[in-house]
């Protein structure tokens, strides 16, 4: 392929090629109709344009449904099967992600942060440090895989782009919180970093998505929800609520993606079990990491002194909720982790349906 000098001369004389116009195979006359919120991705999933191939026939950035020049180069995508990234709720989640964006600069009443007792401020800042640390992995992981995902699954890529933006905002808002009220950043834990490393080093999108969307973000979703009783003021409550909405979208994708994957290839269940075995072992360590457990208990109890008496109870409630919700999501996705949990008995005692591997 080179510069076509003849064409330059012909077109300068007004002799157009018009092959793109006459030989097009596109569906002339297709008119996507806007629905009541505007022209959505679901509205344009019509005719052949809405048909997503189970296996991408080529590896190019050509828009799905376009007439593709036979000379397009192979861009080397490695994720070329729809089931590797798809979920049935993808189109709606993308629209929702775009529609429900918020601003960590504009939408948080930063000026209303009250002065807090030093132990509460330290605890809030430590939690903000951990969250600022973990949230960006949920941008790094999709970003790492985005360019490997075939363009025929562009809706999945677009959704993951919204997640990248969401996580940038979460990192931003917790960094801002740590710096906004006199406390500053706390300690970044090595155990947390090991879990992030596991996600980033995942050998496949399947593995990383299970660890991140289902396990990691499921935990963070429960933590954001618990922000109602962890937050020392209405400002942090607002932060947690806004983040919670975003995180729930990501978890909804992860759960339904796993379900889509397993419905088409049930034999992959054992692979997923193995991924989550590894992840849960590190999560168990996180449940015993002072930089996470202690600020959570102190915030829940309202101070260091009260934490010894009240904090453990609140911590147990939160941990039980995390594990119970995680088990339900796994089951809904078609992966029954009951009886296979790689968490020590002390952590799952009294959680309905939870049983460690080998405990039966």
């Amino acid at each position: 392929m080179g510069l076509d000098l003849d064409y330059l001369e012909r077109s300068a004389r007004g002799e157009f090629d018009l092959g793109w116009l006459r030989n097009g195979k596109s569906e002339w006359g297709v008119r996507a109709k806007p629905s009541k919120t505007g022209l959505t991705m679901r509205d344009i999933a019509i005719g052949t344009y809405g048909e997503v191939p189970d296996h991408a026939p080529r590896r190019t950035m050509a828009p799905r449904g376009s007439d593709v020049d036979p000379d397009v180069p192979d861009l080397g995508y490695t994720i070329n099967d729809k089931a590797e990234v798809w979920s049935d709720n993808l189109l709606d989640l993308y629209e929702e992600g775009v529609s429900r964006q918020w601003s960590a600069t504009r939408d948080i009443p930063w000026g209303e942060l009250p002065d807090l007792a030093p132990d509460l401020e330290h605890s809030m800042c430590q939690l903000a440090t951990v969250l600022s640390q973990v949230e960006m992995v949920a941008a790094d992981f999709p970003a790492k895989w985005l360019w490997r995902i075939n363009q025929d699954f562009v809706e999945a890529k677009m959704f993951l782009c919204t997640q990248v933006m969401d996580e940038a905002r979460h990192t931003e808002v917790f960094r801002k919180r740590a710096l906004a009220n006199g406390g500053g950043l706390g300690r970044a834990s090595a155990v947390v970093e090991r879990f992030l490393q596991l996600i980033l080093d995942a050998e496949s999108y399947d593995e990383g998505s299970a660890l991140m969307h289902l396990l990691g973000e499921g935990i963070v979703l429960s933590l954001f929800r618990a922000g109602e009783f962890l937050a020392p003021s209405h400002v942090e409550k607002h932060i947690f609520r806004l983040c919670m909405q975003d995180e729930a979208r990501h978890v909804a994708y992860g759960t339904m993606h796993l379900r889509y994957r397993l419905e088409r290839d049930p034999l992959m269940a054992e692979d997923y079990h193995a991924y989550l075995d590894k992840g849960e072992e590190i999560i168990a360590m996180i449940f015993a990491t002072p930089e996470i457990v202690e600020p959570t208990m102190i915030l829940a109890a309202g101070g260091v002194e009260q934490a010894a008496e009240l904090g453990a109870g609140a911590g147990n409630v939160l941990r039980h909720q995390i594990i119970e919700e995680y088990l339900k999501r796994c089951k809904h996705a078609g992966l029954d982790r009951q009886g296979r949990l790689h968490l020590p008995e002390v952590l799952i005692k009294d959680v309905p349906g939870a049983m460690a591997v080998g405990a039966a």
């Binding site: 929702e96 429900r100 409550k237 609520r241 919670m244 809904h332």
Partner: protein, 152 residues
């Protein structure tokens, strides 16, 4: 001027007026973003007899569908509590203009009491959190100015 909803809680008229107030703040609802949910609000009377009210979120639209039969309405998620709990929440909203921090939907439901959440599957359960900002704004509308043309 803020006026409490001129209908007893719970009643179809109360929910209709609530949704009318919420929908009257179009810019807020658009800023909160689109939502897609069939929510059941269950009120248990002093004998724990449930009455279910349906709310449908569809894009930017919100509809109060009145008292519903759970089987026919098929809510994706139901938030349930005693009439005293609901009334206390409404009173908090009416007093402060919005729920105070101990009377938000999430704070009341976080440990499963005094409000509880049930859903047929975890997706319905998680939708409660995905749309929390919208749901709270809807209920906080009970503390917003009355709608002149609401037909009350």
């Amino acid at each position: 001027m803020m006026t409490n909803i001129d209908a007893p809680f719970p009643s179809e008229r109360w929910f209709t007026e609530l949704i009318a107030r919420a929908m009257s703040d179009g810019p807020l609802m658009e800023r909160l973003g689109i939502a897609d949910l069939r929510l059941g609000v269950e009120v248990l009377d002093s004998h724990s007899t449930p009455t279910l009210f349906g709310i449908v979120l569809d894009g930017y639209d919100i509809e109060a569908v009145g008292e519903v039969n759970g089987t026919e309405f098929e809510p994706e998620v139901v938030v349930s509590g005693s009439i005293d709990t609901w009334r206390e929440m409404v009173a908090s909203i009416e007093t402060h203009g919005r729920a105070d921090s101990t009377h938000t939907l999430n704070s009341l439901a976080i440990v499963g009491a005094p409000l509880s959440i049930r859903a047929a599957d975890p997706m319905g359960n998680d939708k409660f959190f995905r749309y929390m900002g919208t749901l709270q704004a809807i209920f906080d509308s009970a503390g917003s100015p009355a709608i002149a043309a609401s037909g009350r």
